[in-house]
Symmetry: D5
Subunit: 147 residues, 10 copies
């Protein structure tokens, strides 16, 4: 039975062979880079149409389209990520998490920023002292219900 | 000996009594809300001038100015944060971390986004289906050195 | 500086001395038992009016009203709870969590049940073979955003 | 030797191919959705008759009926679940666990809600501000024995 | 506010000073040694009458009687106990746990031995090759509910 | 090379096919149910004669007899067991461990109950309010050596 | 109430002030260095006579004698010790543990070396290439009981 | 590519089939039992000559000689070992580690016992009250460098 | 699909068979030993030219060149490394980490030493009392941004 | 009883008040910065003479000299350090640890770099693209003993 993990391996193999970028895959799907990449890595589900377009671009078998549309179980195995590029986010959570909470709640009241009704973009900003990674995230504010 | 933790308690007590917001403290310091709040929570150091302004606004004792300018040891005790508002960031790291890495490295080459040469803003975006928390982060791209 | 933990201790002391139940405290606050109890234990914030009513019933000092209205940082120290009454919920999460996810997503699409826009009631149901604890929870369905 | 895990894979494959829902499987078994789904996922045992009906609906081999009736060893590998839909239950345990315990014991005396003599239903409640997931759980109250 | 932990310290101090054994305390309470000892250590609650008798024997203050009757939150801090006398039980759980489960379920059906409707006795058995600790535990069998 | 784990799988397969109980296997071996079951699960070694009898009853290959007599490395992978039937023992260790230690040492002096020179029986006790699992364990008392 | 930890602090303070070595304390007690040191650190109990001698040598108060004779709960807080001198033993356990088990069981049969009926001596062996720490441990072999 | 783990499996298979003991393997290698056994288990490297002798005794293939001489990466997977025979060493580290450190440093100065320039012997000592496992370890004292 | 791990195995196999050292591989690549070795172990990426040279020296297949140039996800599985040669670095981090931080920040201001813009050399220094491993690391100082 | 931790607090207080750097303290002691700083932080012991000089410079009480010369128990509480400046070393251990081991053992044979007979210097190297932290460590090579 073909799994999300199998499909991710197929996508990586096709990317290597065909020299296709995530940006091109996202463009084919007609959605954002972050979302489409996360779906190809098995962390989100695609709707049938973009799934079909991704499969066509990469020559994936028919069943892969179905797999891409199935709802994933989101598993991340390391409590503390080790890859430096991912760890830095974990570190930001640790260093700025409390400040983030203080400010969200000062501006909005008692509640949180949703990680579900959520989107994110990543952009390259050129800078003479070194280019910068710009990340824009937006999540719906969810007030704690009182009852 | 007065510690960063003592000063954070003093700041929280003054905020409660004087009804002063983080936004007002940041304005007094003349710096951004995220940075000043994190410094007041003991996770960053202030330069002497903004430290003095914060202390004046909140009527903190003289030694607190020194403490605010000292370089912190950044400690976060929970490997997995439990407060929902902070946990959602941890979850984003887990769910989107690998996609983030793929895209940063596709756009910039092998390397990471710095969490040190880094800034972040939090903004309230009004929206008819529910207001949104907008977060903009920017970190310098650091290429892995090859030698 | 009076903390949420201090107020919880005051509430427990008053309950012991005055023999007041959580049900009576919730009735005084005019809100549900689960919510008010969790707020008294420092896991949620009360609005000023119910906070004042709780404080009055229990003869808490003025500052306690403020503390009860402040937004908590929700901390739970044990990754695996040890008290049997609480552990059983943890066990239910482990045993039925995957089935819960399958059914929520079959009925609603890819998404989750919110733990923020959420309410819960606990009821005693008499039964000849042994009384039963009935728990009714309701959380808003949040679909994953696709972008 | 066919394992529970093998049978779960067979069931998922049959569901994908035949487009059969958990609700239909439960209806075939003549039992509740939560219980039958958890049994198909290897977390509970079915009696021979419903097992046979499930196998017939999904065209499972004969040995699968035996496997479905065997008593499982309930294993959940993550101390802290990572999938957001399951994590939210873990969070509810952390945030409301102590309040739950206080109220159960105030209403019933020293004891717990059983997770064994236990049932659960999940229901979709339509709501103009967003549909809600309603969960009704009922567990026998078990008083601590004193001897 | 006097806590269970305070009362345990008082009991240990009184035992040291008055040279009273757990067996004598249990006899005064009129209940079994294991149960009364666990209650004195803060892991179970006593009914008012035995609590009063324990307090009288040990000259505990009035409030201690109330504390002994309150329902404890059962906390054990170490995931793996380190004291050799306690660790050996943990080891027995690891070495014989699966065999225990197989045999209980072979004899009774799918279910568990309750740790709530449960009792235990400890006895000294003299033996020429070395005395033996005999432990007799009895827990109600709880069948998994099917629904 | 045939391992203990291979032999356990063979035994489970033979049990399923031949419908043989642990009680029958133990009877064939001429030893207690708990011990023989634990040996079949790879947690203890059998002497050659009972090993041969078990193998004969279940039609195991010749090498399996050797494997059953080899001394196991006792591995249990979960620090905290998750199966409810096994977890309850873990919970008993946590809740009653300290009381157990106090009473053993009050009766015997400073030392422990051996988990090596140890035996255990499990018995079904019928009871009108629900049958009970009775467990009798006996371990040699080992006094701490003073030197 | 004076604890084992209090007495350890008293002993360390007296050692510092009076410049008394562990060897001298052991000589006063009339027992081995390892055992007496471990008892002074709260990890073993002394008999009344050696306890009194230790207390006399170090001018400890009367209650300390009682505390030294009480049976400790042996707690070690770190799963992995960090002090290099102690970590090396942990490392030896990891590197040579399996070989140790193989050889003990080859020489004695299925069983273990007791850590309870156990003694240890530490000796300084002068050597031209650098002095060596010699450790001699002896533990009773305990065969696994078969029943 | 043949790994250390493959060679360990070959050695165990040959031992089972040829009924050869670790003592015989060590004698063939001309080195101590503990060292040779640990090397066969993949935790140390042999020099070419003893490796060849071990391979000859056990009829291992040529590449196994090379593998036995390669330098291992010493991995032990469990932070806390579960096999009772190995756990007891872990326990000794916990219970006597601090006393060991005190005495080594009292006798030698600030430093440690090496676990690298280290040897160990295991011996069976017959005793009327039960045979004893005698372990003699010797490690070079390494003083902390001051600079 | 050929992975980094596959290529590392190929490299180790070729090293064993051809008796080629890491120093020779690094020389072929024309880069430093530490960097090239880490890349061969899957922890860094090579540029196409050195990758091709490494592949040629070791007779690796064409796809291996591509794999060596791909950007790795840096995974290290053990929170605490167990191999003694690697553990000692972990220990140095624990023992000297705080002193390192104090001195870096005293010399440079609030910030860190980069582990990305970083290089390291390892050298053998002969010494009459025993040869020494000399490690020279250099990382760019990164000041914390204030904004 | 004055502890190492007390003395570290005294030193930090004196540094803050007198504006004395670690470099000045090391110069007073006549030893290297890394070693003296680590000793002041409680991770190493000083000889009496440098301890007295440090105490004089900082006006520490007499007992502090004794405390500084006592042999510490080196404790580091976090398995994974959280401060970014210290974490980067942990990361280097994870990313380059295996390469470090390969190269040390290729150059020296099977063994390790000592963390005890060890020294380290930290230096500021000015660089037009950003100053660099240079760290030079040297540890004695310790060959594994074969016996």
């Amino acid at each position: 039975m073909m799994t999300k993990s199998d499909v991710t391996t197929m996508i990586r193999a096709a990317k290597r062979e065909k020299q296709i970028s995530w940006a091109e895959i996202a463009a084919a799907a007609g959605q954002s880079e972050v979302f489409v990449t996360s779906a190809c890595l098995g962390m989100n589900s695609l709707l049938p149409e973009p799934a079909a377009k991704v499969a066509k671009l990469l020559d994936l078998p028919e069943e892969a389209v179905t797999v891409l549309t199935e709802f994933p179980t989101k598993q991340f195995d390391k409590l503390v990520p080790t890859d430096p590029c991912i760890y830095r986010w974990y570190e930001i959570t640790g260093v700025f998490g409390e400040a983030f909470k203080e400010l969200v709640q000062e501006k909005f009241g008692d509640g949180i920023m949703s990680a579900i009704d959520f989107d994110m973009e990543i952009e390259k900003v050129e800078h003479e002292k070194g280019d910068r990674v710009k990340v824009v995230m937006s999540g719906k504010f969810l007030p704690y219900k009182s009852w």
